[in-house]
């Protein structure tokens, strides 16, 4: 069991470092196996990321966008190693600036050739990488409707008033 873990972990480590290279150009990231804090505690995994030009600091001191990117890099590293049947992401890019959002979507797009993603979003760049698009609306009777399942202009009505595009 531990050997199976070590095999998987080694690959996850490499994929995490790769993902951080894309999300933090010029920066560096790695996953470190750490000793347990207590006598009988478990070994653990610690995240270490140093953005370009900066020094190593605790994750707590990093910005909201940086922490989102790091967490997403960890999730994607596992997806690149042993993908789940699908990934369900609800507004995970809320804290990202435009440039970082596009970097993240580059990784999602790459992975999406092999792995399915279901993403809830208000961001236009995310809408642009969709293979399938669903628009949800709330009726005046308090019941939700799904207005569209296709790409193209049929979703325009919903996206225009809700998706941030300028």
């Amino acid at each position: 069991v531990t050997d199976g873990f070590q095999q998987i972990f080694t690959v996850v480590q490499e994929r995490f470092t790769d993902a951080i290279e894309v999300l933090f150009p010029g920066g560096a990231g790695r996953l470190v196996a750490v000793e347990p804090e207590d006598e009988d505690g478990e070994m653990g995994i610690e995240i270490s990321v140093v953005p370009a030009g900066k020094r190593a600091r605790p994750l707590a001191m990093m910005s909201g966008g940086e922490r989102s990117l790091i967490a997403l890099a960890f999730c994607l590293a596992i997806a690149m190693t042993r993908p789940a049947p699908f990934y369900l992401l609800d507004e995970v890019e809320a804290a990202l600036d435009d440039t970082n959002l596009r970097r993240f979507l580059t990784l999602v797009r790459r992975l999406s050739k092999e792995t399915q993603f279901v993403m809830i979003t208000h961001q236009q760049p995310t809408v642009e990488i969709a293979d399938t698009l669903f628009g949800v609306t709330m009726g005046s009777d308090g019941a939700s409707q799904i207005v569209s399942r296709r790409l193209g202009d049929s979703i325009e009505g919903v996206a225009r008033t809700t998706v941030r595009r300028q």
């Binding site: 989102s68 789940a84 698009l133 809700t162 998706v163």
Partner: protein
């Protein structure tokens, strides 16, 4: 892959609704309060999530559509989810369909491929696909930074789960 999701009476989805998901990237958009996160919760609930506070509720009866302007409350919430494994595996079924219902009075039933079963059977069956309500594969609204606050032992557990 998530193939299909059927809902009726679940949270704001009063009318029967079906979503056929495709390969690659599926994106869901809509105004604030339209029901997007309710869809995410329908998926998580059909996977067997038992903690009501993970579903923004105090109890499972709150999953039932409780009415709107000129529209009465529903009596039942039902979600049906069809999934296939991440990778073709001759040792695994090509598809699993789970269904979960709860009535406004709290009676709960579960189905696996159309046959009545227990919640435990749903957990075990989806577990063979690596699916469950607690997986890292589901990142809920407001929860993206969770990995950054996780303790080292928790991160290890996540990787072990994948192994």
């Amino acid at each position: 892959m998530l193939r299909r999701l059927d809902l009726r009476g679940f949270k704001s989805f009063a009318s029967p609704i079906s979503l056929d998901f495709g390969p690659g990237v599926n994106v869901i958009v809509g105004p604030n309060g339209s029901g997007k996160s309710n869809l995410a919760e329908a998926i998580v609930w059909s996977m067997g999530e038992q903690r009501a506070n993970k579903l923004r509720a105090a109890g499972m009866t709150e999953m039932v559509f409780s009415g709107g302007d000129g529209r009465p409350a529903a009596g039942v919430a039902e979600v049906r989810m069809t999934v296939s494994p991440a990778i073709d595996d001759p040792g695994l079924p090509t598809e699993i369909e789970v269904a979960r219902r709860v009535t406004r009075t709290g009676e709960a039933t579960y189905q696996l491929n159309g046959t009545s079963c227990r919640l435990l059977d749903v957990h075990e069956s989806l577990g063979t696909f690596g699916l469950g309500p607690d997986a890292l594969a589901v990142i809920r609204q407001g929860q993206v930074e969770a990995v950054c606050t996780a303790r080292p032992a928790d991160l290890r557990a996540v990787v072990e789960e994948a192994a």
